[in-house]
C-alpha cells in the first residue's frame, strides 16, 4: 500500500516577481516528505483554484509580497470553496502587516507567516491541520 502523502500547492498570486520565498518553502516542504506542486509566478486566483482542484491538494500556500493580499486571498478562498474543496487548508506567507492577520484569518486562512518564520513551524502547522481533517 502506498502511503498517503500530504500534497501542497505553492503558488504566487498577483504581479510581484519575487519567488525566492515560495521556493524556500517548496524546498522545505519537500524535505519534510510532502509533495509540493509548484505553479510559478503571476498566477490569477482562477489559475490557483483550478490547480488546487486538479491536483486534489490538502493545502494551498500563497506567497504575496505586493500588498494585494486583502484582494487576492478572499477571491482564492471563495473559488476553492465554490469548487467544493472545503477541506483545503490555506496558508499565506510574505509581507503581511500585523493588523491584516486577523482579517485574513476571518477569510478562512489557517496560518500567516512573515519574514523569518522558521520553516519547521510551518511544516508542523500543515501536518497538524491536514491530519485533523483526515
Amino acid at each position: 500500500m502506498a502511503d498517503k502523502k500530504i500534497r501542497v500547492l505553492v503558488a504566487k498570486p498577483g504581479l510581484d516577481g519575487h519567488d525566492r520565498g515560495a521556493k524556500v518553502i517548496a524546498r522545505a516542504l519537500r524535505d519534510s516528505g510532502m509533495e509540493v506542486i509548484y505553479t510559478g509566478l503571476r498566477q490569477t486566483p482562477e489559475m490557483i483554484a483550478e490547480a488546487a482542484l486538479q491536483e486534489d491538494v490538502d493545502a494551498v500556500g500563497l506567497s504575496i509580497l505586493s500588498g494585494a493580499h486583502l484582494t487576492l486571498v478572499p477571491r482564492i478562498t471563495q473559488l476553492i470553496q465554490a469548487n467544493g474543496q472545503d477541506n483545503v487548508r490555506i496558508f499565506v506567507g510574505g509581507i503581511i502587516p500585523d493588523e491584516d492577520v486577523p482579517k485574513l484569518k476571518e477569510m478562512g486562512v489557517d496560518g500567516v507567516y512573515g519574514p523569518g518564520s522558521p520553516t519547521h513551524a510551518i511544516i508542523d502547522d500543515i501536518r497538524k491541520l491536514v491530519n485533523k481533517d483526515a
Binding site: 500500500m1 502506498a2 502511503d3 498517503k4 502523502k5 500534497r7 517548496a26 524546498r27 516542504l29 519537500r30 524535505d31 519534510s32 516528505g33 510532502m34 509533495e35 509540493v36 506542486i37 509548484y38 505553479t39 510559478g40 498566477q43 490569477t44 482562477e46 489559475m47 483550478e50 490547480a51 482542484l53 486538479q54 491536483e55 486534489d56 469548487n83 467544493g84 474543496q85
Partner: protein
C-alpha cells in the same frame, strides 16, 4: 451518486479525488477502478520522454494547445511525473509551470504525480490514473515521464505512441542516452530546433535510425536500378519508419507537423492491429505487476519476522547461499 458515476459524467472534483484514491492505492480506489474499467480503452495514450531539460513540459503544453485549437477540439488530460526524493519521499512537482496557457480550459485536466519510489520513469499508479482519465472521457492522455536516462523505458509499455524528445548541442555525451531510449521511440522530436547544431543532431538521429530499421536500398538488377527493402530476411517488416520532427516548443513552431505524425501513428496502429497488440501488452504488464505485489504480500503473511531474520542471519554468516535461504523461506 457514487464517485465512479460522477467520474463518468466528467465531474472534475470527482476525477481529481478518484485520482488521489488510485494514487494512494486505497480499497475505494480499487473498487471504483473495477467499475470504471469497462469504460476505458478509448483514449489515445501518448508518452513524452527524454532527458531532463529537453523541453518535455513545454512540448506537452503545446501539443495540448494544438489539440484544443483543432477544428474538432479533443479533450486532453495530462499526467506529469516528477521524481520523489529517495531520502524523504517528498517531491517538488513543477511541470505545471510550463503549462499555464492551458489554464481556464475545461477541456484540459492536468495532474502532477511523484514517482514514489518507482524507477522506470513513471509511478506505480500512472497506469491506473490514466484509466481514470480515459473513463472520464478524455480523448488524448499525454503522459510526461521524469527526465529520463537510459533505462526509464516503462512508458513504452503504457503508451500507444511514444515521443522521445532530444535537443541539439547535448553532444557526444548523449549518445548513450540515445542508445537506451531511442528504441522505444515511435516519433523523435528534435526540440529547441532554433539552436545551433540542429543539423548535426538530426544527422546523428537519422544515422542511428538507419541502423535499426529497414531502409530502401538501390540495387542493380538485370541492368536496372531497383529499390528493395533491406534486410530482406527480417521478420515481418514493421513499415512504421520513425519520423523526426523539429520543434521549438516555446513558440509552437513545428507543432502542426508533429500533430500530423501523431495522427498518422494512431492510424498506423489501428490499421496494422498494433493498437490491440499494444493494448494487450500493456494489460499484460499491469497484470504481472499486480501479481507480483499481491503474491509478495500473501507470501509475507506466511513467514514470521523471526524466520526471515534468521534466514538473513544465516545468509550473512555464509551458512546458507542466497538460493538456500530462499528455499528456507518458501512454503
Amino acid at each position: 451518486m457514487s464517485l465512479q458515476d460522477s467520474v463518468l459524467q466528467g465531474d472534475r472534483l470527482a476525477v481529481s479525488r478518484l485520482l488521489t484514491q488510485v494514487e494512494n492505492d486505497t480499497p475505494a480506489g480499487h473498487a471504483a477502478l473495477n467499475q470504471l474499467f469497462v469504460h476505458t480503452g478509448k483514449a489515445h495514450l501518448i508518452g513524452i520522454t527524454g532527458a531532463p531539460g529537453t523541453g518535455k513540459s513545454s512540448l506537452v503544453n503545446q501539443i495540448a494547445l494544438h489539440y484544443r485549437q483543432a477544428p474538432q477540439p479533443l479533450k486532453v488530460a495530462i499526467v506529469a511525473v516528477d521524481p520523489s526524493s529517495p531520502f524523504t519521499g517528498g517531491a517538488v512537482l513543477g511541470d505545471r509551470v510550463r503549462m499555464r496557457e492551458l489554464s481556464g480550459d475545461s477541456g484540459v485536466f492536468i495532474r502532477s504525480m511523484a514517482t514514489r519510489g518507482s524507477l522506470g520513469g513513471l509511478a506505480q499508479a500512472t497506469a491506473g490514473m490514466s484509466q481514470v482519465l480515459d473513463a472520464a472521457g478524455f480523448d488524448v492522455i499525454l503522459i510526461e515521464t521524469v527526465g529520463a536516462g537510459q533505462s526509464e523505458v516503462e512508458i513504452a509499455k503504457l503508451a500507444h505512441t511514444v515521443l522521445v524528445v532530444d535537443v541539439p548541442g547535448l553532444g557526444d555525451d548523449v549518445q548513450a542516452i540515445k542508445a537506451g531510449i531511442l528504441e522505444i521511440a515511435d516519433i523523435l522530436v528534435l526540440n529547441k530546433a532554433d539552436r545551433p547544431g540542429v543539423e548535426a543532431a538530426e544527422r546523428a538521429l537519422l544515422g542511428m535510425l538507419k541502423l535499426g530499421h529497414p531502409t530502401k536500398h538501390l540495387v542493380q538488377h538485370h541492368g536496372r536500378l531497383e529499390e528493395v527493402l533491406a534486410p530482406a530476411d527480417d521478420a515481418p517488416v514493421d513499415d512504421w519508419l520513425i519520423p523526426i520532427r523539429r520543434t521549438v516548443a516555446t513558440e509552437g513552431a513545428g507543432l502542426p507537423e508533429l500533430l500530423e505524425v501523431l495522427a498518422a501513428h494512431k492510424a498506423h496502429l489501428q490499421n496494422t492491429g498494433d493498437w490491440q497488440r499494444r493494448e494487450r501488452a500493456r494489460l499484460h504488464t499491469q497484470l504481472q505487476d499486480l501479481l507480483q505485489q499481491s503474491l509478495m504480500a500473501s507470501w509475507r503473511n506466511t513467514v514470521t519476522d523471526a524466520q526471515y531474520t534468521d534466514a538473513l542471519d544465516q545468509l550473512v554468516a555464509r551458512k546458507l547461499s542466497p538460493r538456500q535461504a530462499l528455499q528456507a523461506l518458501l512454503p
